[in-house]
């Protein structure tokens, strides 16, 4: 949905143009990232109202700090580091105030993942017809432990490389890969009943 065209200017070039006063460059950059960033925040904090606040906060910080962006890292890494820090700040604030944790990933943790999110009684067609398939997938993703979920979302929504994700999250690349693998395994366990039988021809990556 938000794919980039290779002939378009890079994120960093657009940011540089904005720093020099080109508002349209910012708009182009904004269009590239608004959707993925919003969905990253939405699935990370699992609350639309809070996601909207963090979305606006994150872009405000980008605007405020644009003049000081040095280009040592990619814009995408920079943006998601800002957004992730905003999430953590917000979570800490809520926790301090005694609110329920935004990332109460352990809700229902005593139940097996399959019991929490699987619904073997319906076929994929039935689920899709009622919009339940998407709900199942959303639920499966949101039930992932936070550290796995954020890696999965950065990879899935924005297509960041493992190295970039490592930079955003502040852990080694191999740790990121492990988290991604665990996330996929959990999703596999939770959504396994939805998988359609695949033919031989679909095997190659």
């Amino acid at each position: 949905m938000w794919g980039l065209c290779v002939s378009e200017p890079s994120d960093e070039a657009l940011l540089q143009a904005y720093r020099e006063g080109d508002l349209q460059a910012f708009e182009a950059l904004f269009r590239r990232y608004r959707g993925p960033l919003f969905n990253f925040l939405l699935r990370r904090v699992r609350d639309r109202g809070r996601a909207e606040e963090l979305y606006q906060d994150s872009w405000s910080k980008v605007i405020e700090r644009a003049g000081a962006f040095r280009g040592d890292s990619k814009f995408s890494t920079w943006l998601y580091t800002i957004a992730r820090n905003a999430c953590i700040d917000h979570q800490r604030k809520m926790k301090h105030r005694g609110h329920a944790s935004l990332d109460d990933a352990q809700r229902g943790a005593n139940q097996p993942m399959v019991e929490r999110i699987a619904n073997p009684g319906l076929s994929p067609d039935q689920l899709a017809a009622g919009g339940a398939l998407r709900d199942r997938i959303t639920s499966a993703v949101e039930q992932l432990p936070e550290e796995q979920r954020e890696v999965f979302l950065l990879r899935q929504l924005q297509g960041l490389g493992f190295k970039e994700i490592a930079e955003v999250v502040g852990v080694p690349v191999n740790t990121v890969k492990s988290r991604m693998r665990y996330a996929l395994e959990r999703l596999q366990a939770g959504l396994g009943d939805l998988r359609e039988p695949r033919g031989e021809g679909a095997a190659e990556a």
């Binding site: 608004r34 606040e53 003049g67 502040g170 959504l191 095997a203 990556a205």
Partner: protein
């Protein structure tokens, strides 16, 4: 390559980061177990790719783009730089370790201060929206009234209540002024306009200091217009000629609030006048200040419509279009915003 090694790399093959993709593919062709694991993982990833995507709210996008635009305008060419360390963004864990406690405490105090300061401003703007109170016009009318009959107030009564007091005065007046204007006796009613004038009289030095650019500052307009203390008034007079003319036009219009803010049927006539532009400029400046200062400011549909029309009045077609298009997305303001957009296109 063994099956275990293969299974280790199945995930990386899917993610196109396998060290030995050819070796993995060779095993997958030979080993059914490895193939099954590969297929299962791949299918799960395909399912997860169907995660529903949602759109961010349009009004948030408009606010963000406006903020970006303001930064460019404010800096002349480059957005303002606030951070000393060149926009460096580091993972939070490291950042917290680096931040000295006193800095965190200072930020917390600042946040509380801004929050307290923001409350009366918000109330004020909301009341402006509801009543459309032409503060600019009212301030100049009060000036004329004070020049005639308000007796001097002893200077011993002077006090410094700070910004909150001014905001309170503006909010009061904003809510009640239209009625006073309609009766044509605001200068004699002893109502809120007079209260504001009395407050301003108690703070002549503040009035004198605030006459640098009164035409763009709503609070300053009210204070300068109401300033009856001699030293303040003399300066206010020099700088508020345009302000008074705006007041005259707004007062003579059938619906002052609509003329001043470009809301309502009488807006078309007022929009074309320089006086309406003046009033709009004050309104826009207050609005842009909120956009700039309040990170989570989200204007209501009516405010979006009013701003769209003000930008239109001021000839800023791009911003006008942004806000009118947003306002057109709400049922309450859709019709009026669409009409304004049509007139924008016609222009």
């Amino acid at each position: 390559m063994s099956c275990d090694e293969c299974k280790e790399q199945v995930f990386e093959l899917i993610e196109r980061e396998a060290v030995d993709p050819e070796g993995v593919r060779a095993i997958l062709d030979e080993c059914p177990d490895c193939r099954a694991e590969f297929e299962a993982l791949k299918a799960s990833l395909a399912l997860a790719a169907q995660l529903p995507l949602e759109e961010p709210p349009a009004d948030l996008d408009a606010a963000i783009l406006s903020q970006a635009s303001l930064r460019v305008e404010a800096a002349g060419s480059a957005p303002e730089v606030r951070e000393s360390k060149a926009g460096e963004v580091v993972p939070l864990r490291k950042r917290l370790l680096q931040a000295p406690p006193w800095a965190m405490a200072a930020v917390a105090l600042l946040a509380v201060g801004v929050g307290v300061w923001a409350i009366p401003r918000e109330v004020q703007l909301e009341s402006d929206l509801e009543t459309g109170a032409p503060i600019v016009a009212e301030a100049a009318r009060v000036e004329a009234a004070e020049a005639e009959e308000v007796p001097p107030v002893p200077s011993e009564e002077a006090f410094a209540e700070g910004v909150a007091m001014r905001d309170e005065a503006a909010a009061d007046d904003g809510a009640e002024a239209p009625a006073a204007v309609a009766k044509g006796r605001a200068n004699r009613s002893g109502g809120p306009a007079r209260k504001q004038a009395a407050r301003a009289k108690k703070r002549p030095e503040a009035v004198a200091q605030r006459t640098v650019k009164p035409e763009t500052d709503r609070e300053d307009l009210a204070l300068a217009g109401a300033g009856a203390a001699p030293e303040a008034k003399s300066e206010a007079k020099e700088t508020s000629v345009a302000m008074r003319s705006a007041a005259d036009v707004a007062a003579s219009a059938p619906a002052p609030s609509e003329a001043a803010f470009g809301v309502g049927e009488g807006a078309a006539e007022a929009d074309s006048s320089a006086d309406a532009r003046l009033a709009c400029r004050a309104k826009v400046e207050a609005f842009e200040n909120r956009l700039r200062d309040e990170r989570r400011f989200r204007p209501a549909p009516e405010e979006q419509l009013a701003m769209g029309r003000c930008y239109q009045t001021l000839g800023d077609e791009k911003k006008a279009r942004i806000w009118l298009e947003r306002a057109a997305e709400y049922p309450k303001t859709k019709e009026r915003a669409t009409a304004a957009l049509r007139s924008l296109s016609a222009d």
